[in-house]
Symmetry: C2
């Protein structure tokens, strides 16, 4: 196993369930200090919702070792020799290198954050939030920082979650975003709702802005984020620009990479054309079941599933991963943001013609206390009426409704079929027509009127 | 239209959207005072969560009339003459009767509450909660009642919701239940969790108890509920024993009824064998897509869908209702209870062999604040692995997760297919494996081990 986080250690654990140590020796190389942790939880640790770092660790190195996994921490794999079936690993602290041969190899090298190549990006006070070490460094900086102004660069999931974390710690937060609206995983009309809600939460949102440099003070520390037009004073800067597959090793070994830079696998998560080598998690591309094309999605839930599949196959069993529909859910304070399937531009890029509708509804019966408004956007293919995507923005009760659409996409349902879905109804849980059904009805009419 | 609630008036509204008054005359007979109200909301009105009765009314008689619907309130249809295509209606107040002929007929007579045939069942202080008039009468009684002891007869949805309502009004509540555990729409092992939680809420739960009579005092008012073994003092008694299809008129007219006493329709909601007569809502039986057999389910969400389908067809369009999977969700205070598909005994009755698993998980990531435990039970068919049913008991975030299973049942997914579902994940919304996926994994393993 190259990499000791979600995919690598899930695979190791699952393979160990199927094969005893005398049947299968498992060696896992991890260059960091930790295994099996929830990177997705880092914003909540930084924000104080999760008090202790160790709460984010699902399984410690000791637990893995107790199950007969030879885990080598602080050990970085520096080369994969596919022809000779061996990997070269380096002890990060001593620098010592050695080769280890394998019968089966799992590449779970994850993703690396996009670090903009600009002046000041490495200055003290500028932080990424990808690893537990990153999170600890940011928390240490926040503890030392006297000022209360934070700038977050990027307005995707990590950006908005970090905006919430910093608000929760009492910072004045400015989010600087390259796109037209925050959350570019939504269509801009839905991103606009996020924009407005974030401003309502007291976050300053700067869109259409390309960060050109981080300005530093006399002490060398970050003091402001600069764009072409303006400067935004910052006592701390958080980079949340997204990630790319970490496939440097794989590329050097001649393994097949896709258009997004991720490893290409088959349905059993085997690297294409390479029996005995599997890969999964943030370093692979996944099949999007809606568009039929590969995408790169860095998300813990896929990484864990991939680990299960790989561990089963490497352990002599059989399992496949059919692909994804692109579901994601997030929140900024009490604003819930969810999406699944294709955005308008994804659908166009995939050659699909579609109709798109947007409706307003509520999380509970209109008369029930605590009902919250929500906006649901739905895309359906012309002629066939097949569901293509759903985006939801609302308050409590909005986000997880996207699961209804995620299952419907997986089943390739039409919006007409969705209008008859037997969803849970009672006044504290839903209006008599669930918001997703209201959207499906409108989409079905739109398909009928403009086939 | 015979009946002016969800099905009748949805059908009327939808037909009116498709046909102008000069093309289609619509007459709706309703024997009560109200139209288009949420009977499901009555417990929350009684409990005080919904302050005003009129909040439960989706559309008033005046609004319907303004749209060109000839609505005749307090007018009861007493006979359907299928051969002559006419109905006889009686003015409830004056007793005057007259015949009205029709080209198209919609029977939306709903359900009637089961009123036990026992001494005292009609005494003052004994209340059903099916109609707005029932709800008002109960509220009036509660306002006049000095004692604070309430007995609820029945522990299904209405029973547990009324228990919550009476707790919220400060009553000491005893629920007397014929079954082994409350919520007989769940398997008893899941009902047991509801039982324990209700006791934790301070509700006294009496199971395996058949009510034999309501004891009355010298003033003729209810003073206790008696079973074979015991007496439960009561200042107010609420009957929540369930409902039966109200098909007296249809039966007399010779229309086809099913094993549960509901009208039988085809997929276009036409009464079988009768062109020009449709029926829907609480007075029909619906096709259960999981068992392939008819069931009776009184639920507003089906009634509204049926109304849409009927209105479309009666208005000259085309729509069908494919059937249900049996989804229901409810709550008692902060306890959420949900089910979809078949219980163990339903599956057995349908000739299906199955494996059943139960798992414990949480609503959010284990480390995220506000995470709540939930129990998920899942049934899968032997050999095929097809999902047969899901039951969920938990706190906030549990109930609507049943929708995932509802869509999967509709799509006839296997539990193995479900393990790969791309559900929304972020720490505030779900563990990295959603509880439904955890159950699906366990069920898939069980099917594999005992095919």
């Amino acid at each position: 196993m190259i990499g000791g986080d979600a995919t690598g250690m899930s695979a190791a654990s699952q393979a160990r369930r199927l094969k005893d140590p005398d049947e299968l020796e498992i060696v896992a190389f991890e260059r960091g200090h930790f295994t099996s942790y929830s990177a997705c939880g880092i914003p909540y640790w930084v924000g104080g919702d999760v008090p202790e770092r160790d709460q984010l660790i699902a399984r410690t190195p000791e637990e893995h070792r107790a199950r007969g996994i030879d885990l080598r921490l602080r050990t970085e794999v520096t080369e994969i020799d596919v022809a000779e079936r061996r990997v070269r690993a380096r002890d990060v602290d001593s620098g010592a290198e050695s080769w280890t041969s394998y019968d089966k190899l799992v590449i779970a090298t994850g993703a690396r954050p996009i670090r903009p190549d600009m002046p000041g990006a490495d200055a003290p006070g500028v932080h990424g939030v990808q690893t537990l070490d990153d999170g600890q460094a940011l928390i240490d900086t926040l503890a030392r920082t006297r000022g209360r102004r934070a700038v977050v660069v990027g307005a995707g999931y990590i950006g908005v979650e970090m905006a919430e974390a910093l608000i929760n710690r009492g910072y004045e937060v400015t989010v600087v975003n390259r796109g037209r609206e925050p959350m570019s995983t939504l269509d801009p009309d839905m991103g606009r709702l996020v924009h407005e809600a974030m401003e309502g939460l007291g976050i300053t949102m700067v869109n259409d802005a390309q960060v050109t440099k981080i300005l530093t003070g006399a002490d060398g520390r970050a003091r402001a984020v600069a764009t072409d037009d303006a400067e935004y004073p910052a006592d701390v800067v958080v980079l949340g620009i997204g990630v790319r597959p970490e496939t440097t090793l794989a590329a050097r070994a001649g393994l097949p990479l896709g258009a997004h830079g991720g490893l290409l696998t088959d349905l059993s998560m085997r690297v294409r054309g390479h029996a005995g080598i599997w890969s999964g998690g943030d370093c692979v591309e996944v099949l999007d079941l809606v568009s039929g094309q590969e995408r790169h999605i860095a998300l813990g839930t896929h990484a864990n599933k991939h680990g299960q599949i790989i561990g089963t196959n490497a352990g002599g069993g059989y399992a496949t991963f059919p692909g994804v529909v692109g579901t994601a859910v997030s929140k900024v304070c009490d604003l819930e943001i969810a999406r699944t399937g294709l955005r308008e531009k994804d659908a166009r890029r995939a050659g699909l013609q579609f109709t798109s509708v947007t409706i307003e509804s509520t999380s509970r019966a209109g008369y029930y206390p605590g009902t919250n408004p929500m906006t649901v956007k739905m895309l359906a293919e012309r002629r066939t009426g097949r569901l293509l995507g759903v985006q939801i923005v609302g308050r409590e009760g909005a986000g997880k409704r996207v699961d209804i659409a995620a299952v419907a996409l997986t089943a390739r349902m039409t919006v007409e079929q969705m209008t008859a879905l037997d969803l849970g109804y009672a006044p504290p849980f839903s209006p008599v027509w669930d918001p997703v059904l209201v959207a499906a009805r409108k989409a079905a009419r739109a398909v009928e009127q403009h086939p």
